[in-house]
Amino acid sequence: MEKHIQLPLTEEVAKSLHAGDSVYLTGTIYTSRDAGHKRMCEALARGEELPFDPTDATIYYVGPTPAKPGQVIGSAGPTTSGRMDAYAPTMMSVGARGMIGKGARLPEVVDAMKKYHGVYFGAIGGAGALLAKCIKKCELIAYEDLGAEALRKLYVEDMPLVVIIDSEGKNLYDDGKAAYLASQK
C-alpha cells in the first residue's frame, strides 16, 4: 500500500503504518550514525539535552558525501542500521519514533519499538544519488567535528521508503521473503 506521510511521526500515524507499506515521507528529519548516536546517548546519561527535540522525531542513519557547489547535499543513502542497535532503544525512550536505514535489527530494538510505538523505515541502500533528490534543505546542527557523521537537520519531500518493521513488530525481511518463497511453490 502507498501512503504519503507528513512528519512529525505521531503515535497515531506510527500505528497506521504496516510492514511492507510504501511510504513517501515529507517533513523534518535528523541525520546520525554511530559516532553521533554514541555522543547523544552519553549526553542523555549525563542528564543533558539533545541537540534537537526528540519528540516524535525521525532519525535517518546516513553519512552523506560532501555537497558539490549548487547541491543541497551530496549522495545520501542509508547506512547499515544494526550498528545503531545499541543506541536505538535509548533514543526511543526519550521520544524519537522513526528510524530510516537498511538491514536487520536486534530483538531488543523491536521490543523497544513495540513499547514506544516506533517505526523502522528502509531506504534503498546504495541509491544515494536518487535519495539526495528529495532532500530540499540541509542544516548542520551539532558535532561538526565528526564530518560526514555530524548531526544534520534535513527537510525532505516525498522521500521514498518502505516500512520494514512496524510498531507491532511485524518484519518485512521475514514476511517478504516468506511470501516470495511461498509464491514459488
Binding site: T65, A127, A129
Partner: protein, 280 residues
Amino acid sequence: MREIQAQQITDVVEKLCIEANQYLPKDVQGAIRRCRECEDWEIAQGVLDKIITNFEIAEQESVPICQDTGMACVFLEIGQDVHIVGGDLTEAVDEGVRRGYDKGYLRKSVVKDPVRRGNTGDNTPAMLYTEIVPGEQIKVTVGPKGFGSENMSAIRMFKPSAGIEGIKDFILETVETAGPNPCPPMVVGVGIGGTFDKCALLAKKALMRSTDERNPDPYYADLEAEMLEKINKLGIGPQGFGGKTTALALNIETLPTHIAGMPCAVNINCHVTRHKTEVI
C-alpha cells in the same frame, strides 16, 4: 627499462577514484537490467527500477552512486621492466586517493586507528596491493569498497574432507547471514585455496573481475553458475524485501593450497560494485 614518474601514478589514481564512484561499470549495469527483466515479484521490481534510476542520475550528473564511497582498494600490476622515479610509490598512490576524494566530493570514510578511531580526513591510506608481472607497463585498478557489504564477508579454513559440499554450504550460509545488510542484489567474490591471507585477497580480486566473465576452468565456471542459481532461490531479493534477485553474479578465483587445507573466503559486495582500470 622504462621510467614512469610517480606523479603519473598519482594522476591516474586520482582520476580512477572519481570515475569509479560516479560511473557504474557497464557489465554491472547490464546485469541489473537483465535481472529487472527476469524479476516477477512486484516490490523487487520497484526496488530494481529505483536502483537503475540511481546509477543513471549518478552518471548524468557526475555524483557518487552511493554515499559510501568506500576504502580505496588499489591494485597495481607493475611490469618488471619499469623503474618508478620521482617519488615514493605508496605516497604517490595515497596522494592520488587524497586528491580524488577531495576533487570528486567523495566521502572520507577512513579512521586512523581501528580501535581508537579518528577520521584521517582524506580517505587515506589506500589499501594497496602490488604484483610484479612481465612487461614495462603499470596496470592500475581502483575498486572503492563499501563496508556495509565488507562487514558481511567471511573466511573459513576447511579440512580437505569437507570437499566441495562444504564450500557450497559456506557460500550459501554467508549470503543468507548477510541477508538485507549488504544492499542486495549483491555480487559475491569467492576465493578458494592459497593461504589464509591469499585466500581473502583472491575473494577481493574476484570482485574486480567483470560480472560477465566466467572462470576459465569449466569446473569453476559451472560452480559459479550453480551457486548463483542457488543464491537466487533463497528469496532474500533486492534490499532483502523478498524476490528472485539476491545476487547479480558470483565470481570464483582459486590458487593451489597445502595438502592439509582448503581455505575459502567469501567477500560480499553490493549492487554498487565499482572498479575502474587504466594502463600506464
